[in-house]
Symmetry: C2
Subunit: 246 residues, 2 copies
Amino acid sequence: MNLVLLEPADFLNGDHVRLHGRRARHVKEIHRATIGRELRVGVINGKIGFGRVLQIDENALELTVRLQSDPLPPLPLHLILALPRPKVLNRTIAAAVSMGIKQIDLINAWRVEKAYWGSPRLSQENLRLQSILGLEQAGDTTLPIIRLHKLFGRFVRKESLELAGKLAVLAHPGTEATAPSSVTKPVVLAIGPEGGFIDREVNTFRDIGFTEVNLGPRILRVETALAFLVGRLSDRFQRPEDSIRS
Amino acid sequence: MNLVLLEPADFLNGDHVRLHGRRARHVKEIHRATIGRELRVGVINGKIGFGRVLQIDENALELTVRLQSDPLPPLPLHLILALPRPKVLNRTIAAAVSMGIKQIDLINAWRVEKAYWGSPRLSQENLRLQSILGLEQAGDTTLPIIRLHKLFGRFVRKESLELAGKLAVLAHPGTEATAPSSVTKPVVLAIGPEGGFIDREVNTFRDIGFTEVNLGPRILRVETALAFLVGRLSDRFQRPEDSIRS
């Protein structure tokens, strides 16, 4: 936890916050915070700053906060992800959010097992918790929008994906082209299920303007593939003038 | 498991293999293999091909194998990693190996907790198992060389790191420069512990020719940072002529 994320309901008044539960435990047990200690804090969908520990009791922790920085800029990358198996969903969402992704569409595909759609991990409550864990890791505050689409065709054809002015890439094993690097326009990135999208699905993506790219000769786990592609595709981050080239 | 990795001891004779334990269970329970089914196989540090299931019994599985392809080319990236906490070590090693990294040095640093060096996960047996899991995921066969260095200074100063003709980059939060993309020469990549290398350690890396780069404004988990940087730094993979540029 590189930032303690505050909810509006945590505020007792203007700059005075009381934390319970998971966050209070984490600050006490992992950060081993003592009274007077300063912690990095941020308000959900809001500013970032510091909180000074005022009081620690058995179940809660009180802080006085100063919020001076704007939220981090979002990564201009929209992720379309075939629903991964529940076991890897949590860490994939948290990893995506930790990299600054703010728009995630979880979609069905031929090789997505039907049972995955029944997982309790798809609850809005769990998706929000995983997003918060990703933000706390990254030091970010802006929650992503995560949507579920049980109908592949309806999503790809009818949800009028906004592709104008963007680079739309589909990670697809066996494709000849490698993923481009340091793309300067917004990216829409689609990643298939284990075993990949089937030909019909690939054709549908191609029809609406996606380019297939590979990730090299190796087959990567979804969370590895995601970070690999985000690192490759994303251009500079905050300061375009500082980029170095080899 | 996208490839069943075979040990020399698995061979009953020239092309006849008998598997026990974890691999036999995986092929039976996850692949639900039946007699006659073909599976992708490879020999440790050797060739890749197919195995046809000959016989399945309670504890074992027999295959006849044809090995026709050479091993995948290694990724020309040498990873130097401050020893991560045991909880994340396994998946970080497996992820590194799945991306084709063949040289991994796990090193000490000021912010590596001493207790991590006592973890049973650092046994050669466990590091080999995690490497095998990474190879089986990737469809690769060549084991990495993983070395442990409990003395930071000795490793960085005296192990005569081979940096000639290579790009040596140190992932360091707060640095101005972003990581370069699509580097065409071999890379030596150093990643610090949670909280980063301390100034003295950064200076030591700088003295021997490393350049510090950031990963953007967010703090990533080590396994996310690793895949992000490998995706960013690595140039083309197998077929230089097929790379596309945006």
